[in-house]
């Protein structure tokens, strides 16, 4: 079994878009994040996993610039453009707005890009619908399309698969992978769907009580004792999207205790 490697130990050909070092965040007396180092690198899919309150969302918020760290440093490169897909999205029913208008709200968009993005995210048929009638999965696709319109150098997705059925989840992660391949953007994903996460990630960060419990390539993280302690040992990919060359003894099952972070 491969040992867990620290990715920061490898040579990085491309400079990081966001460089977080020793990041800590405190809510009142409680430290919700401590000593976290993370590079957001173009072309790499980084996944944050962990139980409720582990600090995943807080870490993402720090990377997005929404929460200032109480300690440590966060450096952003000049060409950082973030496309963000938030987990929770609800528009007041009294606000009349179509998906098309919502997508165009963020700025100028050229027509070719628009066609490309609406096809990628499969939102063509949704464009003239009011936002309020979209299902959770449809809304997520509209948010993804909107994020892609920004020509992001970094795509940030907070629990993108929450509330989707298994097949849609697999499709979503395949889409994320192909978007990364095509646009070369960095992707940071928060997820509870560990099987899928493992499948579509380059780097996995397991957070526990605000600290990094283990990190590395998916295959190596899965063998890490900390990972087993956190998520159980009978976990394996079953989605068919994982480039996977060995088999675990038994079939994967959902991990108990995973709610929303």
């Amino acid at each position: 079994m491969p040992a867990v490697q620290s990715l920061s130990g490898k040579a990085m050909p491309r400079p990081a878009l966001v460089r977080a070092r020793g990041v800590a965040v405190r809510f009142g007396d409680r430290w919700v994040l401590e000593g976290v180092d993370l590079d957001v690198v173009p072309g790499r899919i980084t996944t944050l996993v962990g139980n409720n309150g582990a600090g995943k969302s807080t870490l993402l918020r720090v990377l997005l610039g929404l929460t200032p760290p109480a300690a440590g440093s966060v450096e952003r490169s000049g060409d950082l453009r973030i496309g963000y897909v938030p987990q929770h999205f609800a528009v007041d029913p009294n606000l009349p707005i179509t998906a098309r208008r919502f997508m165009a709200l963020s700025g100028r968009v050229d027509r070719r890009r628009w066609r490309e993005v609406t096809a990628d995210a499969e939102v063509d048929t949704l464009l003239d619908q009011p936002l309020q009638v979209l299902s959770g999965g449809e809304m997520r696709r509209v948010l993804l399309a909107r994020a892609l319109l920004q020509r992001p150098s970094m795509l940030a997705l907070d629990e993108p698969a929450a509330g989707l059925d298994g097949r849609s989840q697999g499709a979503l992660y395949r889409l994320i992978g192909s978007l990364r391949d095509r646009y070369g953007c960095a992707v940071v994903v928060i997820s509870h769907d560990l099987n899928l996460v493992m499948a579509a990630s380059d780097e996995v960060l397991c957070l526990e009580h605000g600290r990094i419990a283990c990190r590395g390539a998916p295959a190596s993280v899965m063998e890490h004792p900390e990972y087993h302690k956190l998520f159980g040992s009978h976990l394996g990919p079953d989605t068919g999207v994982f480039p996977h060359d060995h088999h675990h003894g038994d079939r994967a099952h959902k991990v108990a205790g995973g709610g929303h972070g």
Binding site: F89, V91, I97, T98, L105
Partner: protein, 266 residues
Amino acid sequence: MDEFILMALAAGLGLALVAGPLGSFVVWRRMAYFGDTLAHSALLGIALGFLFGIHLNLGILVVCALVAVLLVTLRRRQRLASDTVLGILAHSSLSLGLVAIAFMEGLRVDLMGYLFGDILAVTPLDLYWIFGGGAVVLGTLVLIWRPLLAITIHEELAQVEGVRALPVQLIFMALVALTIALAMQIVGILLVTSMLIIPAAAARAFVRTPEQMAVAAAGVGCLAVIGGLVASFQWDLPTGPTIVVTATLLFALTTSLRAMLSPARA
């Protein structure tokens, strides 16, 4: 027609044109209670206006601005539910205003006029305030329209995309405060919020874009002002409340029409 009726009409229409678009944002941002709180605190502003001998609108503006800043600060710092904060501020400032006015010796104040409005007592100076202030509100609203709409839909998404949310929020609150100061004379402290909320809610039934709703809300507000003025003359009714009742009837009309035309949505 008498001059005072024309002035009342001009004042009412001026207010409706401003309150419609601004009120749409108050509805979308679920800030009805916030507007109500600012309106309640306006009485304290009136008391201050008398105390320092300044124009009452100026007093209202200062107090509303202070309350708005206090609200933003309290909400950011503490974990107190914002409707609790609003409730405390609304009623304590209204009571403080009443107490302060009672303390001032030799001051005879038409309290009913402040609480429920006195559109027929509009002076030319009031008209300057309404149209000058109204132009400032509408002009500023147009300038901040896009970022304000973006943070109304999803604040953090807008922030990640580069919108600076706090300044936009503060400007919007200042606009609400200014509008309340302008509307005071017409519908009074206790009914001010209705001019923001009801026309916007009535307009919602038949619009498909935010801009359509803003314009339609202004239209509904104008109809309510005209209808309310006519009805109050016809039957000798208090003008402010009659305008609000007319707006409410328009709301009931558009909402039920909408329900009848598309039963699935009812």
